[in-house]
């Protein structure tokens, strides 16, 4: 699962950073320098974008000017398309950091009257490369030549010559190709490009689209072999390595209060470990969100920041509801200590949520994160996906020593509950809320099922939410209530 690291004892293959989030990580540093990489995938998977980002980042961040031979889109159209993703080609072109040559071939214009070769293309490319001293080249998508010219034998020989030409000139190149039927590319470009092949895949599963990137081969270097989810958003492409860390993050012994005295008491008198992950599960109406809000509020009252991801309720609604049980979140919002991020779980796929969360966390650097509830996300994408997403999110948060609290809605004993068993193993602490009845009244119970690394109380205690706030009663000895505790 993890991304292999290059061993330093060997001479590593020289690489050219793509500047694309995550891609450099899974390729162990970027594309093979001075060689050609094939990027293939079906229409709309982001081949052109990946290639253009490689050029633009090369020109802007790494001081390597680039040439794009564009066989499909006209220059203006290309410029406009990638501009919408924050890449300003026009400016780079003006500053001679980038050169786009649109190669247009229309078959009906061309009559073939005897032998020919593609020297014209070589001359154009050579001229462009020399003009701006380019180090990077993109050919997008060179297979269009096959539609324009009929002599496939000549084309194949010339393509072979072209890729050799690129190698000889030590240009780091990306060639894009449309996915074929049962082959990586329609015209078998993969036969010519031996060094590195990246496959982009765009599929729709239960109406949610997911994009996956796979490194099919990368000669001379270890690389991640999994399918990595990738995203295209306002900032272009980002690839999400499944887990890029190998459980080596620092562990803190510092503690953070849960915000509820009784609960702190149950957790060795001090609360959760800083940087740990907490799962709060329970059936409907057992007070999961209240515990989450109390935890957030406690963090804010210590002057820490909290990022609250709400998947079910709007921030206003949460604030109103919490006020009714004596938790006032409003001042924290005004002091910008508490920030809500409310989205519908169905608004995007899992990767979208994960990426969005990671981005926000990077921007805001909170010390506490609340996700309320993760169950909603399960509804859009099944337990396996959620588990892998949560693994990544929990790891990501742990590395930064952010304490995280996730709530999870369960359905009691009657319904099979796979979320819980899937998710709870990822969490350091697990608090289960339950529902019971005493003297004709519904009561709520709380127990700490697990809390890694500390001695904790095994009592089931009554959870009382009143206008004065959340409190825990004395340990309950009530068989009927205890019987409803999940697990």
């Amino acid at each position: 699962m993890s991304v292999p690291k290059l061993k330093t004892s060997r001479t590593p293959l020289p690489k050219a950073s793509t500047g694309i989030d995550g891609l450099d990580e899974v390729t162990g540093g970027g594309l093979p320098r001075g060689r050609t990489t094939l990027v293939c995938g079906s229409a709309g998977c982001g081949k052109t974008l990946l290639a253009m980002e490689f050029l633009v980042h090369g020109a802007v961040q790494y001081g390597e000017p680039g040439v794009c031979m564009e066989f499909e889109e006209a220059t203006e159209k290309l410029t406009a398309n990638v501009q919408s993703l924050g890449l300003d080609l026009g400016d780079l072109i003006k500053r001679k950091k980038l050169l786009v040559d649109h190669v247009r071939i229309e078959r009906n214009e061309i009559e073939e009257t005897g032998e020919y070769n593609l020297e014209g293309l070589f001359i154009r490319l050579g001229h462009a490369v020399d003009a701006i001293k380019a180090k990077r080249v993109v050919l997008d998508s060179i297979e269009t030549l096959f539609a324009g010219l009929s002599d496939a034998a000549v084309l194949r020989a010339e393509l072979r010559r072209l890729f050799r030409w690129l190698d000889d000139r030590k240009l780091t190149a990306i060639v894009t190709g449309e996915r074929g039927n049962g082959t990586l590319t329609r015209h078998g470009l993969e036969e010519y490009i031996a060094d590195c092949v990246i496959l982009l895949d765009h599929r729709v599963n239960e109406q949610i689209s997911t994009r996956r990137l796979r490194i099919v081969k990368y000669r001379g270097t270890p690389h991640g072999t999994d399918e990595y989810p990738y995203m295209i958003d306002d900032d272009g492409i980002s690839v999400l390595p499944i887990t890029s860390l190998a459980l080596t993050h620092k562990v803190s012994t510092a503690r953070v209060s849960t915000g509820i005295d009784g609960l702190d008491e149950m957790l060795g008198g001090k609360g959760f470990f800083r940087g740990s992950s907490v799962l709060v599960s329970g059936t409907a109406g057992t007070g999961k969100s209240s515990i989450a809000a109390k935890f957030a509020s406690a963090a804010c009252s210590r002057g820490e920041t909290c990022l609250y991801f709400a998947f079910e309720e709007s921030p206003n609604q949460i604030v109103r509801n919490m006020r009714s049980i004596g938790i006032d979140l409003e001042p924290w919002i005004q002091k910008r200590l508490l920030q809500f991020h409310a989205v519908r779980p169905t608004s995007t796929g899992l990767e979208g949520h994960l990426l969005g969360m990671q981005k926000l966390v990077k921007q805001r650097r909170p010390s506490v994160v609340v996700v309320d509830p993760i169950t909603s996300v399960v509804s859009v994408s099944g337990i396996y996906g959620v588990k892998s997403m949560l693994t990544r999110l929990v790891d990501f948060l742990k590395v930064q020593q952010i304490t995280s609290l996730f709530t999870n809605l369960t359905f009691g004993r009657d319904r099979e509950d796979r979320t819980e068993e899937g998710v709870s193993s990822l969490m350091d602490s697990w608090i289960v809320l339950s529902d019971g009845e005493r003297n004709g009244q519904r009561t709520r119970g709380l127990c700490v099922v697990k809390c890694r690394g500390m001695a904790h109380s095994r009592d089931l205690r009554e959870l009382v939410a009143s206008r004065k706030g959340m409190e825990l009663g004395e340990a309950m000895i009530n068989a009927r209530l205890a019987s409803t505790v999940a697990g």
């Binding site: 040559d101 190669v103 247009r104 071939i105 214009e109 061309i110 009559e111 073939e112 009257t113 005897g114 032998e115 020919y116 070769n117 593609l118 020297e119 014209g120 293309l121 001359i123 154009r124 050579g126 001229h127 030549l145 324009g148 010219l149």
Partner: protein
Amino acid sequence: MQKTVAKKRRSSRTARANFWELRLYIAGQTPNSIAAIANLKKICEDQLKGKYRIEVVDLLKKPQLAKGDQIVAIPTLVRRLPPPVKKIVGNLSKTERALVGLDILRAR
């Protein structure tokens, strides 16, 4: 630009229809280039005697010209006049196809 072309066309339609302006793109003195020049001269002499002009562009010397006429294959012959612009690739050894491609057969 279209406007001027249209104007010119109107003013000298007959004269233009009978004048052929051809530009042959080559890259150095390769066998194909030499063959293309020879084949083109022969075709023109046979079919268009006295009403053609050939310009040979060597892209090794003027690489910047390749972009303008969208040259990919070498040799490429561009019929600049009479309109519309036509493009044929190859060394012009297949005379019949060259005549079709240049629309000379129909013009005669």
